[in-house]
């Protein structure tokens, strides 16, 4: 390792530790402390209490099905959507690209409620329609169940997988697939033996990130799991801390430790499966060719399938939100409901000073936080992929620390940490906790992108006398544009609707949109909740579309084409 690389690695370890290790240390201390709000009198009683709870066994079973099921569903759906959106000539690609990331712009509680209105067994809109259409005596679906939770959580986490897989798919060198076809392999064999193995780092990264996300998820388990009496680890933690007047967050931290161990274990699994990273390089100094696959006869059927999936899984729940925002209370659609429709909920939300202040704060955290987070992610991913030392492995593990805990728990870790600093109860407490907790969202797409870039490109630049900074700026970063766009979009959309940390750290003056959503939810004001949620979705779509347009302008293919054009102009002039 060069001295410059060593310095960068250790500087990042210090910085990331300050952000992620400190709150986790607070949680470790809290889990071993006898007191409920201060550290000291260390004991194991909190661990004994939670790990001998008779409910834990069934909770672990539910959790395993919930996280693996939703992560697998999210990853497979993302793979399908990413392939069609980035590699084929499917029509209306831009629309489908936005729809693919749309669920992550919707607050989880709201998405859960929307699905409950569609598929609850008593009077869910879709269930009622199916019962009438097929003369059924009972509702065919029950969203308050483990499969229902898997479906909704999978949909919410799908954009995370999509934003990791799509850039890798987009910078895929099609000549590898062409070579396979030259050797007379069919499309399925090519897919199984060439495409999927090369995309393994991205698929693994997406799957693992979705697992970790589902482990920490609280919105769906609380809105859909609790009514169906299906408890997973996050709702089990909620039960543990709410049963007492003085919440024992030490117990919550004690449960969180096992989630942490699972998450760190998964990172090592990921590293094991992607240890020979050279196998996954698709962008080398030979140049690469992201080509478009002609769907021919399959174009229309696939377009219809994509349209149906997008409508049922993404558009319909959003339409339910629009409907809910227009009625005075939650009503089953019908004459009475349509007669009662008005813009009252929208007026209340738009005029509400706290909502406006929340919007301002959320925009700041989203724009500035995501930019800082992406910059940090580029550096961390570079160290993880390109430097590959024991220290970089350690850096990768600590970057996951805060993220591995359920939000409700890590929020307390940050509160215990920040209350000892001047930034407590300021917007900066939210800023740093967001960046620290969601850093893996920035790092994962970047590592997948880095893995695909051959080291010879940088070496050539350095041999030609360019500095490290110049090499990064002129060679590496332009090739990373799809990854950077994905990182930024993931972080920005996450920051824009972040709830768990904000609920603990936000104070008057530093409210964010998700806190307003929570207030409306606690008050049972679903109409206002939906109106504000739709405003959030609209702003997120504008942001994502804007960044995608910006990213498309600077992606490598475009840059190269422009350079060719510029270089060819003087030739034209002289000829």
């Amino acid at each position: 390792m060069l001295k410059r690389e060593r310095n960068l690695t250790y500087a990042l370890i210090v910085l990331v530790s300050l952000l992620t290790v400190a709150p986790v240390l607070m949680l470790v201390m809290g889990s071993f402390s006898n007191s409920l709000h201060s550290f000291g009198n260390f004991t194991l009683k909190k661990y004994i209490s939670v790990y001998t709870d008779p409910m834990l066994f069934s909770v672990l079973g539910n959790t395993a099905i919930f996280v693996v099921g939703s992560a697998a569903f999210a990853t497979i759906l993302a793979l399908f959507l990413a392939y069609l959106n980035t590699r084929t000539d499917i029509p209306f690609k831009f629309l489908f690209k936005v729809l693919s990331v749309m669920p992550m712009m919707i607050p989880h509680v709201l998405f859960g409620v929307s699905w409950a209105l569609l598929l609850n067994p008593s009077n869910g809109i879709l269930n009622m329609w199916l019962m009438r259409a097929f003369s059924l005596s009972s509702a065919p679906f029950n969203i308050y169940s483990l499969p229902g939770m898997v479906l909704v959580e999978g949909l919410l986490d799908m954009p995370i997988a999509y934003l990791i897989i799509a850039p890798a798919m987009g910078s895929f060198d099609a000549s590898l697939e062409e070579s396979s076809r030259v050797f007379k392999s069919g499309p399925v064999k090519t897919l199984m033996r060439i495409t999927l193995p090369i995309l393994r780092p991205a698929i693994m990264a997406a799957f693992i990130l979705c697992i970790v996300r589902a482990l920490a998820s609280f919105g769906v388990p609380s809105v859909l799991g609790m009514p169906g009496r299906v408890y997973v680890l996050s709702t089990f933690i909620y039960r543990v801390i709410t049963v007492s007047l003085i919440a024992d967050y030490g117990k919550a931290a004690a449960i969180g430790m096992s989630i942490l161990v699972i998450s760190v274990g998964l990172i090592y699994v990921y590293r094991y499966f992607t240890r020979a990273s050279d196998k996954f390089v698709t962008v080398s100094s030979r140049g690469f060719k992201p080509s478009v696959v002609q769907l021919r006869k399959g174009k229309i059927p696939l377009f219809i399938i994509l349209l149906l999936i997008s409508f049922i899984l993404i558009v319909l729940p959003v339409l339910v939100l629009l409907y809910t925002s227009l009625v005075p209370y939650v009503m089953v659609p019908g004459k009475q409901a349509f007669a009662a429709m008005s813009l009252q909920n929208w007026r209340v939300v738009i005029k509400d000073p706290i909502s406006l202040r929340s919007l301002k704060n959320s925009l700041f955290l989203c724009l500035v936080g995501a930019t800082v987070g992406t910059f940090l992610s580029v550096l961390v991913a570079y160290v993880i992929v390109k430097i590959k030392s024991k220290a970089s492995g350690f850096l990768e593990s600590i970057s996951f620390l805060s993220f591995s805990f359920p939000g409700i728990v890590i929020g307390i870790g940050f509160m215990w940490y920040f209350v000892r600093t001047p930034i407590y109860a300021t917007i900066w407490a939210l800023f740093f906790s967001y960046v620290a907790t969601y850093l893996p969202y920035g790092i994962r797409p970047m590592t997948s992108a880095f893995v695909q870039i051959h080291g010879s490109l940088e070496e050539s630049s350095l041999v030609c006398g360019a500095s490290f900074a110049t090499t990064m700026r002129r060679i590496v970063i332009p090739l990373l544009v799809p990854g950077i766009v994905s990182s930024w979009v993931l972080l920005a959309t996450m920051f824009f609707r972040e709830l768990s940390l904000s609920a603990v750290l936000s104070r008057p003056g530093t409210e964010v949109l998700a806190i307003q959503i929570l207030r409306f939810s606690e008050d049972g004001q679903w109409g206002r909740l939906s109106a504000l949620g739709l405003i959030m979705i609209a702003i997120s779509i504008i942001m994502v579309a804007g960044v995608n347009i910006l990213g498309a302008r600077f992606k490598p293919g475009e840059v190269r084409e422009k350079r060719v054009k510029v270089e060819s102009q003087p030739l034209k002039a002289t000829s």
Partner: protein, 333 residues
Amino acid sequence: MKLKKTMMVLALVLVITGMVFAAGKTETVEEVTSKKVSLYANITAIEPILEHYNKTTGSEVEYTRLSTARYVSTILTEVEAKKLTADVVQGPLPILEILRDQGVLAKYEAKSAADYPDWAKKDGIYLFGIEYVGLIYNTDLVTPEEAPKRYQDLADPKWKGHIVMADPGTHATTISWLVGLKENVFASEAEWRTFLAGLAANEPMFVASFGPTPAPLASGEKKIGISMPKYIVTHAPAPLDYAKISPMLGSPRAIALTKGAPNPRGAEQFLEYWLDTDAAGRLANDVGEYVIAPGVYPPIDGISDIEVIPIRELSDDELQKWGAEFDKIFSLK
């Protein structure tokens, strides 16, 4: 070149935005230490009362909403770090008693509570309302005749699959309410346990707290629920009404000043306002709260004829014991 320019513009925008926010934060801190009153509360939907206070006194109230689950932990953590910014705290009585025992609260003699009954004044803590709980139903699906006439009626099998309630294993107010029924309504523990078994057999749908109970009732997903009658006011014109069963039980809502409040005079002024009949009237009329101020009732038909009584405060140990017991009865464990 364009990439470079775009990056520079982006960087400039970020720096300027950061500076604007940093400047905004300094102003807020100054304001907090001068005129604003900081209120930590778990009561919801009180914005109209705070707005009225602002209009009449010119002083602003910063309202930090703390859920019961993280109330004590947050405040004690801030106290420990000497960073408690609350001037006034509002929450369930047992929680404020814990804070008083930890030396967080100040003793203050409120003039506007002079007419309050003695049981509502507890050594610097003032009870101003009761978080009353009742049986709420959807009027499109249940007629007043069909509605329960006594609590025992909720165990009738006709309600199977039609009930929504907060999780009886964890929701402190629901646990206290169920125990309150045993101590104030049922003739014997055996009768009470029969009621619980019947209620459990009706397979109620559980939600985290009272907040999410009115939505499934209003939409008709469920016909009846153990909820708060105040939602009839806050969710109007939803088709909701309540079973007129007396007595109605609830946890006492309390308010107090903090020791070493950053704005002590503002805190006293606000507490006097809050306990005054005028504010109590607003709390009843705008938020549907049941207040202790004499002669003030929420605008809910027939509520003045119902006896609303505060239930015994359960200790932490009792809450955990009964929570575990209800877990078993409702087959959660």
